[in-house]
Symmetry: C2
Amino acid sequence: MLTALPDRSASLQPFFTPRGVAVIGASRDPSKLSYGVMRNLLDPEHGYPGPVYPVNPRAADILGLPCYPDISAVPDPVELAVLLVPAAMVPGAVEACGRRGLKAAVVISGGFREIGPEGAAREREMVEIARRYGMRVMGPNGIGVIDTHTPLNTTFVKGMPRRGHIAFLSQSGALCGGIIDWALARGLGFSRFLSVGNEADVNETDVIPFLAADDISRVIALYLEDVKGGPDFVAALREAAQRKPVLAIKTGRTAGGQAATASHTGALAGVHAAFRAACKQTGVIEVESIRELFDGALALAYQPLPAGGRIAILTNAGGPAALAADALESAGLQLAGTGPEAQVALRRCLHAEAQVAGPVDMLGGADHGDYRRALDAVLADPANDGVLAILVPQVLVDPVAVVDAIAAGLAAASAASPAAVDGSSAPRKPVLACLMGAASLDAAFAAAHRAQIPAYPFPEDAVAAFGILRRRAMEIAKATERGKSASIAPTAGRQPDQASMATGQRLLSEAAAAGRTSLDAAESRTVLDAFGLATPPDLLATSSAEAAEHARRIGFPVVLKLASPDILHKTDVGGVILGVTDEAAARAGFDIILARARAAHPDARIRGVQVQRMIGGGQEVIVGVKRDPTFGPLIMFGLGGVYVEALADVSFRLAPLTSADAEEMISEVRSARLLAGLRGAPPADRAALVAAIVRIGDLAAACPMIAELDVNPLLVLPEGQGALALDARIILA
Amino acid sequence: MLTALPDRSASLQPFFTPRGVAVIGASRDPSKLSYGVMRNLLDPEHGYPGPVYPVNPRAADILGLPCYPDISAVPDPVELAVLLVPAAMVPGAVEACGRRGLKAAVVISGGFREIGPEGAAREREMVEIARRYGMRVMGPNGIGVIDTHTPLNTTFVKGMPRRGHIAFLSQSGALCGGIIDWALARGLGFSRFLSVGNEADVNETDVIPFLAADDISRVIALYLEDVKGGPDFVAALREAAQRKPVLAIKTGRTAGGQAATASHTGALAGVHAAFRAACKQTGVIEVESIRELFDGALALAYQPLPAGGRIAILTNAGGPAALAADALESAGLQLAGTGPEAQVALRRCLHAEAQVAGPVDMLGGADHGDYRRALDAVLADPANDGVLAILVPQVLVDPVAVVDAIAAGLAAASAASPAAVDGSSAPRKPVLACLMGAASLDAAFAAAHRAQIPAYPFPEDAVAAFGILRRRAMEIAKATERGKSASIAPTAGRQPDQASMATGQRLLSEAAAAGRTSLDAAESRTVLDAFGLATPPDLLATSSAEAAEHARRIGFPVVLKLASPDILHKTDVGGVILGVTDEAAARAGFDIILARARAAHPDARIRGVQVQRMIGGGQEVIVGVKRDPTFGPLIMFGLGGVYVEALADVSFRLAPLTSADAEEMISEVRSARLLAGLRGAPPADRAALVAAIVRIGDLAAACPMIAELDVNPLLVLPEGQGALALDARIILA
């Protein structure tokens, strides 16, 4: 069921199916980009079917069409303008388009924000004018839109990609030429192709809901460089990924140069952690290369998802099958064996020396008939969830006939098993092809694309695409789980009430208003407590006598900790003494800590010494917060001590978190298997840990004045005994 | 300097440059494989220049050549036979070839070992016959040899790859068709191309030295499925990799199904660990996909190695440069900035809005002149070690002209800097190209290959190839270091003498001869001690009184440990008691351990209880041995406790080990940074650890009766204090 488009998305329709297109700055000089735009719009095969109006005061006609001196002179119907005039003329041209009643403009011209402050001012002026007329602008500095179904091509790039079902949004216009060129050679089909340029007006957060609601687009592929409007963008991703697969690649994944940070969490959250967390939490499939982006999109556009990870391999050569089998495991899949019935069927139809146990190796002599019969047997075999058909060119085998046979087998299987009609028959399985080679396989690749069989030149690429199908299937399963768990609040520990949380927020606001940059441990503890995190009994001593008195009341052994808003790393100055077992030691400890603190930081304000119950056992973990400038609070989880410090074994998600998010954060950390209780240790209270992570997320989301926060350690006690925030550090924005 | 070829290698020459080729079983039927062989041998452009003799008793002439009824009738000169007769006729045909005095035979026919025992017998018979005549056989069940320089093509695959400098050996014949097809489309050039089939006679251990000594082959690429003769193979790899880059991919990397094992080391050494260790120790570059194999080989064949990891990017589009920049880091490289002089030069020659700081983005309008000028500036810039030139197709830019400009710039740079002539000028830098796209770039790719500029369709692929160049450079540096360290015996601890080692070997031999499958802790300790590993003071008590007496002599605190040859996992049965502080506790502890052991394993032989000094401090590590059936003893290193058990954070090398090998093993383990002394702990005695690892390698190499060994824990004490093998377990073969 499609919901109504939100307004910002609905207003994008004229970019794809306009009633009339004007080209402002159209040229009759074939060396000009604007000529290329005209050529694409008027292409005899893929040209725009509605009226095209070249606008140029210095030409009478262009490519056989009458030329108009000004947009005001263009007759109805006209909804979309494509602008290729020099940057300085763009604001005036947009104004003219607005007056003429146009709904949308693609601004291909460069010379805006990307060239500096003067260009940025021009860009702002252009957007203000467009908004005044209720007109949407795509660009500037992008190459515009390709819609293969309308068809419409506002770009100047040679060649129209094949009609297909992949929607692509690119934040780089220059990249698009390479992708179109490659897509033409590979026969890759697109539905909508958008180069959004500087995103002065239309940006990815507008476009994604539009593509999500677009029935022709079966999969959305995103090339991103710089994301605007974090939370709206995340919401758009989430909604889109619930409807159809979304694949994304983002540059700047490994760039260094982040600002200095004061917490472990700050130091460990790389520049890319927030985007990666957003993908994980919304079900977007993040990829690491352009090849993977389109190889995966191709598979998602053409084939159903596998019900499980068991992939059968059908081949005429052992080597590529062995390579594919190796690649399966790293893609999170398994090589399927062949079930007994299918083995019998394969034995009957294949060469006597063929291997049928899996991979099914039909040997070099296999022809299209063998492929068809073997495919039928393997598709009917309940022992696999998908099939990879590998063909290595052989002198006597016609690769096109093999692809046609695979297509026929697939069609027959679909007809025989009308999935989801009565629910009783198994869903159709995905089939991908590896046509290994290139020189002799052009026709076979083309045949595969016609039949909607994704085809790849190397077994490893085909397996990676299978991995993406599987990831999508698992994201869907996770989203279902997520839907169930979203409403379930953590049950472990105490639920914070509104009044309590307001108290915590007030403390933070007052500290921030006073110009303070951090809270001391006691204050941090109060804030955590207000948001439902358990903390151990703890009293502040301002004299050695008071330290002894508090220790007696709390019960030995105790821990003594320096309380100073100016000294964050207490252990570095010797400000923590563990295992204090009597009053005399407490008194002495107080004096020692104060002396050490004053020696190390003579000017630091010292509030005294906290006296805390010493808790034995349990597993120390760290939960932290770092506020990402785009995406907001990013929550980190890791095991305490060397696991975070030496191994950087941590995971991230964006706040607020569901319990499922927190569960995933824990599972993602390799050392978290220690929580299960290794070497005779009791299993840790995982429910309490999940609740603590969720509440720290709630705290971060509710208190924007928190820049960074480390709860370190959070002590997770044995099952049923909860988790205690032993120490914490809050850095204010 | 080339050394003389070893005999087994020298005898391969007739496979590549034979004087006369006979085709046994030549056919005039174009649908037969043997016709394909004739067609390739007689190709007007790439045909074999010497005499070709079709042999077939039922034909008078084939493809215009007179046909001979039998090999005995073939005139001189003839050295090589290509056999395509049915399997049953192969032994007879080989006999006839031997009688006729041929030196080599390529057996393409299948029907040998790959079909079962009958075929295997036939294969053995064939080899015996060949050996009798001193004839070498390649195959059976392979497609033979392509030599692009002779030229000679004994395969039936359509198309001759371009002449080039990549030597390729494949253990899969079927894969070769796909690779040739792809190489033809990509313009990839080969020197020698070998499909060795079943390797009945000629195998990879013969071929690698031949290719290593072959001046035309600049790089060796290996596709392996099953390695024979581990140690010889390793020696061949080592010698080859010292001369030229060797790239390898091996299937079966992730296959499960290994035999059950009794030690940590056994459980953690996957099926692929030994091959991987062999690559690391010989300087062979292991890759994970066929694409990476050839992308890397292309770069190594055409371009010099980078002196460092700083790669400059020159582009006409920002997006692909951003993708490449991200990929650099994961390939172990860095994005180079532009030095101040080069920035000035670039500002002068490029468009005003071009980015010159790096990546150098010349923007979409850049033409071949811009590429040339910018390349000159970047090649002259000392701030980088290599250049990636990216071209995205643009309407007005001729990609072939850009490639030609890059080639000209490279040629000019080479001419200006005759590396290694006077040693003062910088060595030539590698340049790789990314020609992003496909449909419009065929001519540009061809031009790049003509100019020996490796070119790739995606930025990530180009960066991966740069990563391989860099790995090769680092392997060379490592080999130099290895040469220095190989002769340096570990200096830490006690050097074992021959007599002492003989004692250890004798103990093992006697236990093995007695049919025992394991040694108990005391015996294992004696063996370790004999090979120079320090162990703590330790006495065996056979009564509770003796336990108390031993404890008093050793000094408290002590550890008590069950001594039983039948119980390997002592802690599992409660057979270890730590921190025994007085004689009464020692007495009681003895009784408790015996009671627990008897309860758990009533039939186990119990030798008593070991009394050991309890050592405080230090870092526990595990060093283990598992004997690989092909490669011999495999040594494992990891940090003790959860790091091995829960995180599987371990590294492997083959014995015997150099100190450099041991150093690398330590560095490869992520948790090994704990050895440096985190959180105020003193740094561990790394030299002693290196010595211990080397000695365990020596022990494993000297004692083939050891199947598995865990030294767990090996306690590495603070710097200067050595390392102690606290416990050990030896499993006999």
